[in-house]
């Protein structure tokens, strides 16, 4: 069963990595190079899974996360990061505010991406608000 996946990352190499990793899986992958564009796209299409880069110029991951939450997203959001100490307090605050997300440690391996997508394709996980 096909699902829609959004990858928000300012670096093209990461966006391309996700596209290549998911190539041939039949899942529909869309990318956005900024948080603003990602939120806008999420309002236009119903995504089943979102990957979000922690560190981005403009809106960063936590702001984007809140933005996505505000536009009604309930799908799993994976934040990819090398380390998140700088963001820890704000991420904790977001979690306390009831916003659900996962952390995904970089470098993200193709198998990891595919297995996450596969799980979501099978279970269609949605968070309650």
């Amino acid at each position: 069963m096909s699902i829609n996946i959004l990858v928000v990352d300012d670096e093209e190499v990461i966006r391309k990595s996700f596209i290549l990793a998911l190539d041939g899986t039949g899942y529909n992958v869309e990318t956005a190079e900024s948080g603003v564009k990602g939120i806008k796209r999420a309002q236009e299409i119903n995504f089943d899974l979102i990957f979000l880069d922690l560190r981005m110029p403009g809106l960063d991951s936590v702001e984007t996360l809140r933005g996505l939450w505000e536009v009604g997203q309930t799908v799993p959001i994976y934040i990819t990061t090398a380390f998140y100490d700088d963001f820890l307090a704000r991420l904790q605050k977001a979690a306390e505010d009831g916003i659900s997300f996962y952390l995904l440690k970089k470098p993200v391996d193709g198998d990891e991406i595919r297995s996450i997508a596969q799980v979501q394709a099978q279970h269609r996980i949605r968070f309650s608000r």
């Binding site: 990793a21 090398a82 100490d85 820890l88 970089k106 470098p107 993200v108 193709g110 991406i113």
Partner: protein
């Protein structure tokens, strides 16, 4: 005078008392003698001259008491002219004190009996009334049947005064010398000194048998055994730093004739003043000495004094720092402590500082008695010691301090390195994610028998290895900022079992015997489980690496509680760590493994984690025998936060 005219050959006879002495002899007799004993005249002349020029006063008196002749010295001594004396009755002149007559008469009587008389000390009055002390000897001369008394007298007033002065001076010197030698006693206390001085004082006063003394100093009082405060007192102040601090007093227990100051002599006034001054300065000196002793004895800084390049004094701290005893140091060449390559610089700096050209302390290395090298921080100044120029040195061992400073610099460097590493890691992880996925994408679309397939596998594997290294870097920087929330109470036994399971394949393959023992009652401790797992994983992996090629392959992990800490001890029987490398093992990037097999971050990560848990890690190692890591972790603290 008759003779004079008749003896022309003797032109100065007029002045000759000898002639006068015999002037009353029968002229005829004299004349007769002269004729008969012509050769005697020269001797006679000599005799007369001797009498006239004698420094002693010589006077002749007949048995009736009339002065018959006298020499010049006699007239000078008594202040009368010859005319006033000769022909007058001796007693009527009032030269002799009435009270002295009995003494004089007894002497005279003895002389008459032909006894040899002793000289007599008498007080005479000169014509002007001043008393003089004279020493008189009398002889009876029999000249042609007439007995004449000849008195030889000498003015001993000056001599007596000198004798008196001398006696006083000797007493004074005895007293002051006594005080000085009391004060010079090597271990004498101030109280002992005062008591001894008090006992010494009476001896130096004119009537020692009835003298007593007292020294009062603030609250303290020192007295002779016979002390009694009477009305006959002489006292002086004891001053210290120009302030009166006490008194020294001498009393007579009985009345004595009035002298210069009551019954006391002016010399005694001088003496007691001097004693007062001396006691004051001795007390001052003693206090300074005591202060010096206390200051140097308890000083945390080494203090020494050198003269002519040799130690004259060294305080306990200096002895402790150098390892030499006082006896070994005294007389030792001061530069012999300095390591040879620093000697010239030390000499130069010290000289410049003594000349006032340099004020900043200087540093150098010394060789201690035990062979250790210590870093010293020093100041010297010029001073006087036992009356001679000396150099006073303040000597501070800064070896430990310097080591800590270096460690701090190293820690700061590492912290900077951590920050940098995190930045680099972040920058590298994105491209690596790309590389990894690109390689995997290609791999999927390449047939297994395609020769490019294995090359792509290589790219994938090597990229993963790069990513691992970079991840380690982030771990290293991250542990320093861990939040407390991630701490939980966990047993080390659980962690050890997990790690052993993880490594079981390698342990089996390399035929290593791994044992572990967790003592009963070892409590769970607060830890970040993943971090603690990493600690054990890193240490055990290191052990496994160390055992490669080792004939004995054993690892033992021991855990037990000791006080507020849990001890975790990991021992291997591997190749050991060279002594020179022991200090560097925690440095990031330090590794002894072949390039490509270790990132060097293992132990620095371990230490970061242990430190962030409020613990401590130490390492002991012997080449060829093995290595032991000892880790202390607090039972109660939730990590080293704050």
């Amino acid at each position: 005078m008759r003779v004079i005219s008749k003896t022309q050959k003797q032109p100065i006879t007029e002045l000759m008392p000898a002639q006068q002495q015999i002037g009353d002899l029968e002229e005829s007799e004299l004349e007769q003698k002269r004729i008969i004993n012509r050769p005697m005249t020269e001797a006679e002349d000599l005799y007369r001259k001797m009498i006239e020029f004698s420094p002693d006063g010589i006077i002749t008196v007949d048995m009736k008491g009339v002065i018959r002749s006298c020499n010049t010295a006699e007239t000078t001594m008594l202040g009368y002219s010859k005319d006033e004396l000769v022909g007058n009755h001796f007693s009527k002149l009032g030269v002799m004190r009435l009270m002295d007559f009995p003494k004089y008469m007894s002497l005279f009587t003895s002389a008459l009996k032909g006894e040899i008389t002793k000289p007599l000390e008498l007080t005479f009055y000169r014509k002007d009334g001043t008393p003089i002390l004279i020493d008189v000897r009398i002889n009876l001369l029999n000249i042609s049947g007439n007995t004449i008394l000849q008195a030889t007298s000498r003015d001993i007033t000056e001599r007596k005064r000198a004798e008196h002065d001398m006696r006083e001076r000797i007493k004074e010197l005895d007293c002051l010398g006594g005080i000085a030698s009391i004060a010079a006693g090597p271990h004498i206390t101030l109280n002992e000194m005062y008591q001894k001085v008090v006992n010494l004082l009476p001896k130096s006063w004119q009537y020692p048998e009835i003298a007593c003394a007292r020294v009062t100093l603030g609250e303290k009082e020192f007295k002779t055994d016979n002390f009694n405060a009477t009305a006959w007192k002489q006292s002086a102040d004891i001053n210290m730093e120009n302030r009166k601090e006490g008194t020294v007093e001498v009393y007579y227990l009985k009345a004595r004739p009035e002298l210069d100051e009551g019954p006391f002599l002016k010399e005694e006034r001088q003496l007691i003043n001097t004693v007062g001054g001396m006691l004051g300065s001795l007390a001052e000196r003693k206090q300074m000495e005591d202060l010096f002793k206390v200051l140097t004895l308890n000083s945390p800084v080494g203090i020494y004094i050198i003269q002519k390049g040799r130690f004259q004094f060294a305080n306990p701290q200096f002895q402790k720092d150098t390892g030499y005893s006082e006896n070994e140091l005294l007389g030792m060449d001061s530069l012999s402590l300095v390591i040879p390559e620093d000697r010239e610089v030390v000499r130069e700096n010290a000289v410049r500082m003594l000349k006032g050209e340099r004020s900043a302390p200087y540093e150098y290395m010394v060789n201690t008695r035990g062979g250790d090298i210590k870093r010293i921080f020093e100041i010297v100044s010029s001073t006087q010691y036992r009356g001679t120029r000396a150099t006073l040195g303040y000597f501070l061992d800064i070896t430990e301090q310097r080591k800590m400073e270096l460690q701090l610099v190293r820690t700061e460097k590492m912290s900077a390195l951590g920050t940098m590493a995190a930045g680099v890691a972040h920058e590298l992880l994105n491209p690596m994610t790309g590389m990894l996925n690109f390689a995997q994408y290609c791999l999927k679309r390449t047939a297994r028998d395609d020769p490019r397939y294995s090359a792509l596998q290589d790219i994938e594997r090597e990229t993963k290895r790069c990513a691992d290294i970079v991840s380690n870097l982030t771990t290293f920087s991250r542990v320093e900022n861990q939040g407390e929330e991630r701490y939980q109470k966990e047993s080390l036994a659980t962690i050890i079992e997990r790690v052993v399971r993880l490594l079981s394949y390698r342990i089996k393959q390399e035929q290593v015997s791994l044992s572990h023992h967790v003592a009963e009652g070892t409590p769970k401790i607060w830890m970040v489980v993943n971090s603690m797992q990493q600690v054990l994983l890193n240490l055990t992996s290191n052990d496994l690496d160390a055992l490669i090629g080792s004939p004995k392959k054993e690892i033992h992990i021991e855990v037990h509680r000791k006080g507020g800490f849990v001890h975790l001890v990991i021992t291997d029987s591997g190749c050991g760590i060279a002594h020179e490398n022991l200090e560097k093992i925690y440095d990031p990037f330090f590794t002894t493994k072949p390039i490509g097999e270790g990132t060097g971050l293992g132990l620095s990560t371990v230490r970061s984690i242990i430190n962030s848990h409020g613990g401590n890690i130490t390492c002991e190692s012997k080449l060829g025998v093995g290595t032991t890591f000892k880790i202390l972790l607090p039972v109660e603290a939730k990590g080293g936060v704050g």
